[in-house]
Symmetry: D3
């Protein structure tokens, strides 16, 4: 399966996109394909990453960075988005320091080696992903039983909703994960 | 059903949010609830409306403004999002100058009084909405048969994906449409 | 989408059909299309409206006329029947004197501005509509908790079942709602 | 599973209901439970059997009586209605003179020993039963390829729709088939 | 529907297969088609019947032979497998000495004349059949409430899983039930 | 999630089971959990592995060993079976010598870097897995277009059906994959 929309050249991109992409490359050692795949539409790119950062880099609340990547991995698997499962599964492994957790969450989060709090978090996320019209008070209460309040519920919902957008774009554009992602967090990082 | 997250006061919002909201109020005669409902999180609000504008105000391509609102109405109905069906159904009626079209598209777009091109556009949008992992070449070809190219396909997919995000947030937050929307475009506008 | 089966002329119909249709026209100001669309088969027409009247004009029980139209609107939306959602949504608005309720019930009844009793009524109706083989004692008990007895349950089930028939015929025949229905009950009636 | 609504006594029924029921008893040797189960509501009973007769005793068209019972059996199985599968499966065996056909049609009509014309007829019926909102021109053309015209399509749709009503009522009322039905048409009739 | 893979001749089969088949024929009066249909692959045949015997002839536990056939009938109906519903429905009628039970369990086990313990057993079986990834502690507890322990749960699951295999092979191979099965257990056995 | 049924000790197992398990341990460097998890029931264990070997070690036909593991990985993902996706995904990577292919096939085989022949093979397998009752001639023809005959179709179906059994048992027993599997075939094997 080849990428449906050709990736732009880094040199042809607006300066702000190029700067951010180079920064990511510096930090990760490669440019994740989503940065280039969406860059053909700079205005959408800017909104996409602004949204991403608002949700994933947000301070406060009870969700750890690992929790957030776990939501992305589980809901992207439900949406059968190859790019997001592989890319965010890698980040999940790193944040949680658990080399096995991403595959577990992607295949069947009910069997994953995660905490009861994370299980409740994923139950909520999957319902937002697949049946948001049926969300009701009892769903919020189930979160509260694990110390997650309405702001956390919003975070879970917004991360799920945002990556639902991302999943659909990746599926339509046949975005492929960089080969580097597949192994990240599975083996001790080379020094 | 009451709104789950209290709406902020306009006076408490950051200046850029307040300016845009006042501008919308000036133009529409009221403040659509989505502008206030999301404003409790300014960073998300800014990304949300930047994304919205990038897709809905975009120049070029073969999709009219009416086409775009039709996509929103049809996919929001599939996601059972009351806010978006009512609000964007209103705008659809106005752009298309067809007082009946929004109800038709929301209940069963296959019976709606729309063009074969619009029918193909909605077939693509609904597949992105519900089964994006099954999108394949034949789906793009079906668009091309009606003069819509790969950029139009991206537009349809992105609008569908973005409002899928919006639908989920509105469902989780129990966002209610302003009463004004229900009647807009159904009767000649008061002068 | 054009009507698939041509409508008969009023003058060619049997006397009893014509009389009823003229009576409806007198009362409503127009002839709802279902009366003509089914009239090509007089025996079916007679049974259909006898059934309709037995259920919708029935005396006694705890369901108001507004409740009955609400059941029709909600289940017809689940069956994606344009004719019934638009026509009975109009009657629902009139009986309930709520211009917004029909759109709410059609898009997502869980968000509609209705009573808890009506919510329970619609939960039962939707289950009969979509999974009647799973109806069990607990479903009847949920009605009883809101003062609805087994006769009311029968009423809800029979209305749902009858309009399920109607929905399928309207969908197969591509029956279109009269334009008059779309606005009924949304604005004060002209005098 | 006991019947949820008690059956009325024959002697307590209105004269026209009693007469028809006695006639059926005379002909069949027993009173099929549906005649008593619905008789507690005479107005609905009359409409129900008038509709039944209009569809199942109708003259003309290309559907045989066996075809009609086959439609009932297949769609009632899809709706998981025990009463209709067993009762109409019995009549199907008798009309088609095929002791095995009812079980085949009920479990998986695609494997049944029926004609290609009957297979097309059931494809149409099942689509009306489960996804009537997606019925389109191609479905009518598939019938025409087997000599079935738009009147036959109406017949198939109306029989499917009417028994969809019947299935839901039988499921809600927990109507049980008479023991006599299970064996009818499986063995040569006693003389 | 004809069988897709030709049945081998008994004389061409390996000795162990032939011996078992002749034994079955001796006992039943005919050779159930599954014995011949799978015999074209002797290694698979041997494993299949070894598995079958390990589950269906197993000593101990709380499941009767009738219970086991009931599980097969109910789950095979969910998988729309004509061969298994008809063949095992016959054995179910014989073991349970209830001529009506197989049709009831196949069409809608919720309406069947079975014990509450059997109802719980089938609830577990159907969940294993259709949503095994959602099986959780509460499902085991529901069995325990009816005196079925974790070994019984394993039995139910294994029978369901094994016949899920059988159902798929029978569906793919278009395996047809022997005519003899349809009547077995419905009428007193000829002596 | 802990294993629901305690694993037996190797020393307590019948001799033939222990011999096979020690052989596997010798070859793989560890004992895959399925060998122990099923060993608590030796008769089922023997049938299970006899079936496994008949399908996975079978000579002849057009399916390579890599093809067979690909079928297992794709259908086990559809059944959300953690054990089989991780264990057979590992073997798939090794046989295909493609470190990325297992994740691709598990998340969305339509996007995987596989041949058109393998894509057709998986389309058939997934239909057997999820809708075997709808398998028809056209599905066999689609295989033939890629050089796969009716024996290959049987192989695909039987592998899918057998691992459907395995998936259900692993899900019910909460069988967890050995940690060793997660990394196998992703990195060059240590020498």
């Amino acid at each position: 399966m080849t990428v449906r929309y050709p990736l732009p050249e880094l040199k042809d991109l607006p300066e702000d996109l190029r700067a951010r992409i180079l920064e990511v490359q510096e930090k990760s050692g490669f440019v994740p394909n989503v940065f280039l795949a969406l860059a053909r539409r700079p205005a959408e790119w800017r909104a996409f990453f602004a949204f991403h950062d608002a949700l994933m880099l947000k301070e406060g609340g009870h969700l750890t960075k690992g929790d957030r990547e776990m939501i992305v991995t589980a809901t992207s698997a439900a949406n059968q988005c190859l790019y997001c499962v592989v890319a965010h599964g890698a980040i999940l492994r790193i944040y949680e320091k658990k080399p096995l957790v991403a595959d577990q969450v992607a295949v069947n989060y009910r069997k994953a080696d995660i905490t009861p709090r994370q299980r409740a978090m994923l139950d909520f996320a999957l319902k937002v992903c697949q049946r948001s019209h049926e969300i009701e008070d009892a769903d919020f209460e189930a979160l509260r039983a694990h110390g997650m309040d309405d702001e956390d519920a919003w975070d879970i919902a917004a991360i799920t909703a945002f990556f639902g957008l991302s999943n659909r774009m990746a599926n339509v554009a046949s975005m492929m994960p960089n080969p580097e992602f597949y192994l990240l967090g599975r083996v001790p990082r080379a020094k």
